[in-house]
Symmetry: C2
Subunit: 352 residues, 2 copies
């Protein structure tokens, strides 16, 4: 066919490399060389091949390619719940980094279910992903090791695993809690309560224990001020109301910002002024935190950075680097929910 059909290709047109070779009057190998930029090819043949490719609207089959090369330049990221902006941010960081490294990143959201986590890990493997990053609170270590062992490389987020199993990226949770408590104490709060998440989340346990340890060390610990509840705003709303009837407190540290949002609302609807009567500190620093009223002070976790580092580590491992453990440090994000005596909140505070 002469160049009649403009560039609008027919739907479903699936030219193969052999078609291109035929049209260009060369062998498949030459086409492959041109495509890969490997070996030397005469300027002339290259042009012919390139023209044929355009003409046929040809695209190499990645499937065939990865069958032949046993690699796919594809990475997988498995997260437990995209509806928590925390994971969405990690995903964005990872996506950006993968793109820069020349890899593709496929995300698997596994809606709160260990079975699905395993399934996602397996199907990513089946589809030929070179490596995976996984943030999974639920999968037991044995199962995780087995699943990850099938990849050339793997990175686990938010959880320490043996280096034989995978690299890991974690955040120093205890340090984050300490930052919050130091600021609270400095602001004169002596009866700090904690809204903890279920122990299912390793980081929740770590944070709760860090809280208890620190408060104990300061001689300010009272177990009656610790509540464990589900990580939803709804559950936190209810838990905070209950806490109000149980023990007096002048500050509240929450496992994450989603929970803090519920707590904030519970305090306000109970007539408790924030931060005058009770200061509130969240954890993670999701984008919405700065827009709550009052803006929520929180322990900022470098989410994008987590995603970025996870990809960097994974790519390094794929190139033969040894597994590593990365520990990231959180920062305190001071906003009005933690400040005292802020009469008229100023515009833009906490937006930096």
């Amino acid at each position: 066919m002469p160049r009649g059909g403009v560039s609008t290709p027919k739907a479903g047109s699936k030219a193969t490399m052999a078609d291109v070779a035929r049209l260009a009057g060369v062998s498949k190998q030459t086409v492959s060389r041109v495509l890969n930029g490997t070996g030397r090819t005469s300027e002339k043949t290259r042009r012919r091949v390139e023209r044929a490719i355009r003409e046929l609207n040809y695209r190499r089959s990645g499937v065939a390619r990865s069958l032949a090369t046993n690699s796919s330049l594809t990475l997988g990221l498995v997260v437990p719940a995209l509806d928590n902006p925390y994971y969405a941010d990690i995903a964005q960081g990872a996506e950006l980094a993968a793109w820069e490294e020349g890899y593709n990143l496929f995300l698997c959201n596994v809606f709160q279910d260990a079975g699905r986590e395993a399934a996602a890990l397996r199907s990513l493997e089946d589809r030929g992903a070179d490596g995976v990053i996984v943030d999974t609170p639920r999968l037991p270590e044995g199962a995780l090791a087995e699943l990850l062992g099938r990849y050339k490389a793997a990175v686990v987020i938010g959880r320490e695993v043996p280096l034989e199993v995978a690299s890991s990226i974690v955040v120093d949770d205890a340090a984050g809690v300490r930052l919050a408590l130091e600021a609270l104490h400095a602001a004169g709060r002596r009866r700090v309560a904690m809204l903890a998440g279920p122990d299912l989340f390793a980081s929740s346990t770590v944070r709760r224990e860090a809280f208890e340890r620190y408060e104990q060390a300061c001689g300010l610990f009272d177990p009656a001020r610790v509540v464990i509840t589900d990580t939803s705003s709804e559950a936190s709303f209810a838990a905070t109301r209950e806490l109000l009837t149980r023990a007096p407190f002048d500050a509240l540290v929450c496992f994450n910002d989603i929970m803090a949002a519920g707590a904030l609302r519970a305090l306000q609807t109970s007539g408790v002024r924030v931060p005058e009567e009770v200061a509130v500190v969240g954890h993670d620093d999701i984008p919405m935190a700065a827009w709550l009223s009052p803006p929520l002070a929180t322990v900022r976790v470098p989410k994008r950075e987590i995603g970025r580092r996870a990809v960097a580590t994974l790519v390094a491992s794929l190139s033969g680097a040894a597994a590593t453990r990365v520990v990231l440090t959180p920062e305190l994000r001071v906003r009005e929910s933690l400040l005292q005596g802020v009469a008229a909140p100023r515009a833009g505070s906490g937006m930096g």
Copy 2:
């Protein structure tokens, strides 16, 4: 090797179907039959094969499989920005539905960039995805048609495309705006302002025009009360402040909840009481909307449903069904930011 090594497989172990066949003393074909449940196989051979599979910790290569079958039971979903909970929710709906249909769903987040959108669509194709769902405001229709034409089936979200190109799932945006305005008018608001998003988003244009039309019809339209701004809380915060100095208004309709959050904060920090002086209505109903202060009234878009329907439509198309157009209807979610004279907000309001 006898059954020495318990069930803990060595890392990187990649048995092939031939290995299994050998160990079981049958042909590859028989193994394939057992795996697929096709053809008849004697109970005895099947057991042998199954045992060999277990022994070798064997998994079929999906890559080889899809090269041979030209199908992968894999679907792709391309979204522009996971950091907007709106998309995260769509993704969860889609993921759930795909899982139920026996498909795998790979998500591609393309960070605000038309080039990346195209790249994602292409790499999903390369990896053998059977079909894709794409929510892309930026890709011009011609390019989109070309990209989608290469799939067996495709679904576009939030945008109408010719049925030859793909099926589409859209929400009746104009109806949503009308719902908000009716409620506002019923509450006595006569000077409604609008915080619109850039025309880049088709739905933003639709909503803005619906707003103008409706207000005009009521004889209440004033162009000075319409502001177009970026879809971030920050930009909306600034735009709202500016609007306050420009034209008086007693209600504010926003393109989405993220923007509404910024607007809410701008009003509050400017000493404007919500909803007493200015009622605010968002759009989408992201989870956080209910936890803002005051809880944000919003036009609820059935996000999960969009994801679910997109997958259902896609799967149907893959089975040969004709392309279709689905229009979903939004609902008004009344919360305190729209109510009048609510002295003491009651607990749990707006949480249902």
